[in-house]
């Protein structure tokens, strides 16, 4: 066990965990933010997606010891115009079914629009295929990202 200071959503949290603990479990079990989900634990499904200094990472494949002073953003701390547009579009298209993967989907989609405000279908494939949805809500995820991109055009 070792003490780490994690900066999550603009706040500092002290956690005392084994250094090899995946960031995912520190966020969920130690900090108590549960919007970030566990789906596979092996970076295959994307349900645990958070931002590390603004870049998407799978929090299951990053040990707490490797976080350092980087700023972590989870779905609870997601802000910005892309995030607002994505979440509104998610509701307008009734994207979620079971909903369990959707935190990760929203995190990936907002990150995509931040880097590429007008993604093509292929851009969406390349950015979003790391997020598995077992309900296969993919048709609506795609449509909602296009809608969000439109609203960002203003």
């Amino acid at each position: 066990m070792a003490a780490f200071t994690l900066k999550i959503n603009g706040r500092e949290h002290q956690v005392d965990v084994d250094p090899g603990t995946p960031l995912l479990w520190a966020i969920r079990d130690n900090v108590g933010l549960t919007g970030t989900k566990y789906g596979c634990g092996v970076a295959q499904c994307g349900a645990c997606t958070v931002y590390l200094d603004g870049q998407t990472v799978r929090s299951c494949s990053l040990p707490v010891s490797a976080v350092g002073k980087s700023e972590v953003t989870t779905i609870e701390g997601l802000t910005g115009k892309e995030a607002v547009a994505v979440q509104k579009a998610w509701v307008a298209h009734d994207v979620p079914q079971c909903g369990y993967c959707q935190s990760g989907q929203v995190m990936s989609a907002a990150a995509l629009l931040g880097l590429n405000p007008k993604p093509t279908d292929q851009d969406i494939d390349l950015a979003m295929n790391g997020n598995i949805c077992r309900c296969a809500t993919y048709v609506r995820i795609r449509a909602a990202i296009h809608s969000a991109a439109k609203t960002l055009e203003g």
């Binding site: 970076a43 295959q44 998407t56 799978r58 851009d123 790391g130």
Partner: protein, 215 residues
């Protein structure tokens, strides 16, 4: 009565399946590609090649030995001929779908290598990592190439990132991403031998005139 039997057990359909397998590699049955052993192979030391009198022949033999490393899945997986890396000892297409992108780090706005791969291997999630983790540029594609073609590419400064032979030898012997091939993390067969041995083979090959295998 005309009797047409179909199904995988029948001769006719069996031949159709054979055609399908030949045409579409994706249709291989699971048991056609058993998981390779995870025990690393070995490399012959440079001294073993001293007996080859002809300099060019010696260089070729040395490169062929070093080629066991270059053509191991650990190296080949990230030297794809297309945009997409492969993974595992079976060299299946990387899942999820990732592409090289301009900097070899993923498509802009798409999945970056660093979304999953970090500074070090993380066996708890079975995800390999290295500070320099990235895909080789397309001009350094090795998959689908013969060892002779790979050899020619490697020593051509236009295709090897502008490296002189000395820089190339140093890269092979010292580079940490190259070195990852021998410490690839749980569940992956390391490249044969050691980076030190590999570096010595490459240096000896260069010293012998860097001739390439034919073909």
């Amino acid at each position: 009565m005309s009797l047409v039997r179909t199904g995988t057990m029948a001769l006719l359909a069996g031949s159709l399946v054979a055609i399908a397998i030949a045409t579409y590699p994706g249709l291989r049955r699971a048991d056609a590609a058993p998981e390779a052993s995870r025990v690393a192979g070995s490399l012959k030391p440079v001294a073993d090649f001293g007996g080859i009198k002809d300099k060019n022949e010696r260089a070729v033999a040395l490169f062929e030995e070093a080629g066991k490393v270059l053509q191991s899945p650990r190296c080949m997986n990230c030297h794809p001929a297309g945009d997409r890396p492969t993974q595992t000892d079976r060299m299946i297409p990387h899942q999820p779908l990732v592409v090289r992108g301009e900097a070899g780090m993923g498509a802009p706005g798409g999945l970056a290598c660093t979304t999953c791969h970090h500074e070090a291997n993380f066996d708890a999630a079975r995800v390999p990592g290295n500070p320099k983790w990235q895909l080789a540029p397309i001009e350094m594609a090795w998959q689908g190439r013969s060892l002779g073609q790979i050899c020619s590419q490697i020593k051509d400064p236009k295709l090897n990132g502008g490296k002189t032979m000395a820089q190339l030898v140093h890269h092979m012997a010292e580079d940490e991403l190259v070195g990852w091939g021998w410490t690839p993390g749980a569940g992956r067969t390391p490249a044969p031998g050691s980076q030190k041995q590999f570096g010595e083979l490459i240096k000896a090959w260069a010293d012998a005139g860097a001739a390439c295998p034919k073909g």
